[in-house]
């Protein structure tokens, strides 16, 4: 019976993978499109999502203390609700941009004949762990509200900033002229 369940599970998993393959977009991934996307992710993280002022403003407890002391219950509820939405959007955006950086790595690594499979597995697990951590933070904020994990938010913002600095070195070779050239070749990639 265990054997039967095992083989049936493998069959079902294979069917599920084939379903995703069939639904997969024919749009070519990687190449110049991935480069531009990675560069955009970096700019979005550094300029739009990670500046300390923005993070402090989204998760500022002083705002909540002020509203709590000055407003009726209905306003307090609305404030918390809206602030939670903003916090969740912020986490989703950071996660999406980190995912884009990871896609950039995979798009580059696939072309190297000297690729080290063990190292790739390690990196894949690393990125998966980070995505999981972002998910955990999202759940914490969703359940406990925007002020449930202030230290974790700060740490995540700092970590992502450092990650950006390192990624910036990887993308440093892309100067404005090269980006313009790639933008012309890439399908549907927005200009920076």
């Amino acid at each position: 019976m265990i054997q039967l369940i095992f083989f049936l599970s493998i069959g079902v998993l294979l069917f599920a993978s084939l379903f995703f393959l069939a639904r997969r977009s024919p749009r070519p991934e990687g190449g110049s499109g991935a480069l531009i996307e990675a560069r955009q992710a970096l700019v979005a993280l550094q300029a739009g999502l990670l500046p300390i002022e923005l993070v402090q403003r989204i998760f500022a407890e002083q705002d909540w203390e002020y509203v709590r002391s000055q407003s009726p219950a209905a306003v307090r509820e609305l404030f918390l609700e809206e602030r939670k939405k903003v916090a969740l959007l912020w986490i989703d955006q950071v996660r999406a941009q980190i995912r884009s950086l990871s896609r950039f790595h995979r798009g580059s690594a696939r072309s190297y004949a000297r690729l080290n499979p063990r190292l790739e597995m390690e990196l894949a697990l690393g990125f998966a762990g980070l995505m999981f951590a972002c998910r955990v933070l999202r759940v914490v904020v969703y359940v406990g509200g925007p002020y449930a994990a202030p230290r974790m938010v700060g740490a995540m913002a700092n970590a992502a900033s450092r990650a950006c600095k390192i990624s910036e070195q990887s993308l440093a070779f892309l100067n404005a002229a090269q980006l313009g050239m790639l933008g012309g070749r890439s399908t549907g990639a927005a200009a920076l």
Partner: protein
């Protein structure tokens, strides 16, 4: 009657597939794939002859021919590997490495299992065929995982080849698992499911291989880093930095 119709439909689609392959000159491009289709057709013709002339030898011939087509079926996997991953040496290397690990694990289990489990045995021919299908399913899963992970684009021809063969392998594996669990109770599953899934695969192949659609090739002008080690080291330090901060935060 239904069974006969399903098998006859399969032969018609097989002919169509070979005809189109010759007409649009796909034979030379997908050599292993068409070798498989031709071998299945020859095996079917031989089986029809055996049923008519020597029905008592049917079972012996059935398993011999089934094993022969199963082996040529591995050619399709080779075809897929060559066409989809060859422009991406890194991804190809990763797929070969993972495939070797998967095959090694299955092989080690088959060799070591009898020592630790004296009652374990490869069993009947049905179980043997099921195990071979399992190895094929494992290979195709590894291939799909690499394709998804590295975001490798696939053309219509190769997508159809993977889908068609994947559907056949998955259905075969499941029906063989049922058959080896309780042959008599699930006889209908085997008798109808197997040829029906093969017909489905043939139709997918016929549609996908109607004309030549080359696989998208990577942009040759993009060289990010000359050294993989440098790229991997940088990515590793990105992950390490984020993990350190998150770890500190979690402990705080």
């Amino acid at each position: 009657m239904w069974l006969w119709l399903i098998e006859a439909a399969g032969v018609v689609v097989e002919f169509g597939l070979l005809f189109r392959g010759l007409r649009v000159r796909l034979f030379s491009r997908y050599y292993f794939f068409y070798t498989y289709i031709t071998s299945v057709m020859l095996a079917s013709a031989l089986m029809a002859g055996v049923i008519l002339k020597m029905p008592t030898l049917y079972h012996q011939w059935y398993w011999a021919l089934q094993l022969a087509t199963l082996v040529t079926g591995y050619g399709i996997l080779l075809e897929i590997l060559n066409h989809i991953l060859s422009p991406y040496p890194g991804a190809e290397r990763f797929a070969r490495f993972s495939g070797l690990i998967a095959f090694g694990s299955v092989f080690c289990f088959a060799v070591i299992a009898p020592f630790f489990m004296p009652r374990w045995s490869p069993g009947t021919l049905t179980e043997f065929e099921r195990d071979l299908r399992f190895v094929q399913a494992l290979f195709i899963s590894v291939l799909l995982a690499v394709i998804f992970y590295y975001g490798i684009p696939i053309g219509k021809n190769m997508k159809g080849m993977v889908l068609g063969y994947g559907v056949y392998i998955a259905t075969s594996l499941m029906s063989l698992a049922f058959r080896s669990y309780a042959a008599t109770r699930f006889g209908v599953v085997w008798r109808v499911g197997q040829p029906l899934s093969y017909d489905t695969s043939l139709v997918i192949w016929l549609v996908a291989l109607w004309s030549y659609c080359p696989n998208p090739v990577p942009d040759p002008n993009i060289h990010l880093e000359e050294d993989y080690e440098a790229l991997a080291a940088r990515t590793r330090s990105v992950i390490g930095a984020i993990r350190t901060y998150l770890g500190k935060a979690a402990r705080a």
